[in-house]
Subunit: 194 residues, 4 copies
């Protein structure tokens, strides 16, 4: 089994999730800039989720570039990841529409956490198939960044009940971890091409 159709399907699902989230931003019924004010928290939560989905798409893209073949286990591990990502529009809307209240912010973090775990499972499923000496196993390694992200998300969930802003700060921190380019990975990828 080649991975190209799995990639195309995942691209499709991710593209729809990222675009459907914008439907949670309801068109205001007033025509002045004040009409945008209630939309602002929904917009901010949309930006955050957009960045997360962008990060997942980027990482997924890199991961499968190093993967040669798919097994039944990989297909289901991938669907499991897409399942948790598909809940992003729901939790994004709930958090945004309620102005980052504690419970919705914690539930948002829970779905982030489950997606992070699903991604780690997907990595293990691929390495189990490709072997420990494979390119993908070397590129992924222990995925310390992935584990750290998951841990920060885990910590953020109870902290959302102390203050939702601490939780949101942690979500932003995790996103920044991935947005800032990692020179070691780029180097490894460049080497591979040679």
């Amino acid at each position: 089994m080649k991975t190209n159709r799995l990639e195309a399907f995942s691209d499709g699902v991710l593209a729809i999730i990222i675009t459907i989230m914008v439907l949670e931003m309801k068109v205001p019924h007033t025509v002045d800039l004040a009409g945008l004010k209630p939309v602002l928290p929904v917009f901010l939560s949309y930006v955050l989720s957009f960045i997360y989905l962008g990060i997942y798409w980027n990482n997924h893209h890199h991961l499968f570039q190093a993967t040669e073949q798919a097994s039944g286990g990989i297909l289901w591990a991938n669907l499991h990841l897409l399942f948790w990502l598909s809940l992003f529009p729901f939790t994004t809307g709930w958090m945004g529409e309620n102005g980052f209240a504690s419970t919705p912010t914690a539930v948002y973090g829970f779905v982030l956490l489950m997606a992070a775990i699903a991604y780690l499972i997907l990595e293990r499923a691929i390495i189990a198939k490709e072997g420990r000496e494979s390119l993908v196993a070397q590129a992924v390694g222990q995925d310390r960044k992935g584990r750290l992200s998951g841990a920060l998300n885990f910590v953020a969930i109870p902290l959302a009940f102390v203050s939702p802003w601490i939780a949101c700060g942690l979500y932003v921190l995790v996103a920044l971890l991935w947005l800032i380019p990692d020179p070691r990975i780029e180097r490894k990828l460049e080497k591979r091409e040679q």
Copy 2:
């Protein structure tokens, strides 16, 4: 006619169906965990439908990997399958929003049944084109698992009026039949690659 565009189109439709279903989960207007309570049955029906669509995507993927060429009949048999799958968001929403009442649960099963029949028709259309000695004909065979699934779905429809939970139990059973990997198929696929 090659099958790649048929696969891409089917991937697109399946990706959208799977993602649009989540829109039936309306964002709650309260901010505590109790606000998630009315969403729970919708969520459970979403999980069930997500798994079914994942199974269809997996099987579709396998089926067309063994198919070399498409005919007009195959294109329409495929669209017929996509039609029934496209009704999943509607029946999932109806069943979930009404807490698994008898009639919506039976109608959910009816659409499952029609999709199962459409899949069997698609298999026959492909075998008719590729020939009885073809790879795909050998891989699919009598598709006893597919027929059994259809039969269980058929039985579940009247049983939904006895108790919706019996029907749902059967839907879950059919899903489990496909989720648990089938060693014979994997073996056949591995042989093929050699």
Copy 3:
């Protein structure tokens, strides 16, 4: 310019249009079969539009299989076709929700007509690029079936004000014209492969 990305984009748009239409079928709030009664006309108009979009996808698929290169004009002619097709969910919903009243049924036919014209324009744009001796020019020819479909749609619009059922009968007739396989085209396609 190759045509593969144009095809992928069109597949995406068509896949979304076909799936978004189902959102017009609102989940009923009652749990008996009578709850499905108001959904029935919406369902029937959905079936009709699904078949039309299936026909367009099939024809589009065949057309671009015979097309080698895209020009700027072809890209825009294709977008023009997608524009009219993108109005299907709106006209389908309007016609279905009002139980096939005259005006919505006529407007539905108008969009069908514009899509048929857009398709003929797309064919001309492709033949202009590929040349009159090209494979695609021979396969398409005068596209008498396409012109006949457009003419029947044109006639149906005023007839919708006499009786919407005459108009709907004509829409169904046009669909049947395309659903019933045309042996001459299949033969031509088979010859081409040799």
Copy 4:
């Protein structure tokens, strides 16, 4: 990193944005042509946005045809562009539903401007990767047309408060700039193929 998956993902997002906008056109509850009257401004804003997204898709298509490899920076510059384009359904709906009032029309222009800037950033990111002597650098050049479009959008924002129709006139003008084929680009593309 090859660009094909980036293109497929962008196609998916663009296809969904273009189709989701049509959901802002709410099905009227009356059955005469007068029922379409309140839909008209929404329809006109939909047509405008459809054309803009068509232009972006066309330009994106041309740009990546000349691009050989993607870097992390290009992936994020592309996601940044998709982010602003994903706001089109929101601003289109707001502008259309309020009959082209000043503020929504200005906000519409702001998102157009940000998308234009994001596109210029994407071009720079690609040229930075491919080199100043590359095909893509020569084809894009200074992208004076892109800069002019951005400038016109920038001017239109304050003018929306003088008269929304001046702003809309400028939006239409920018669209026409791109719709009318540019012989120099076509020539350059043809030369490249030789």
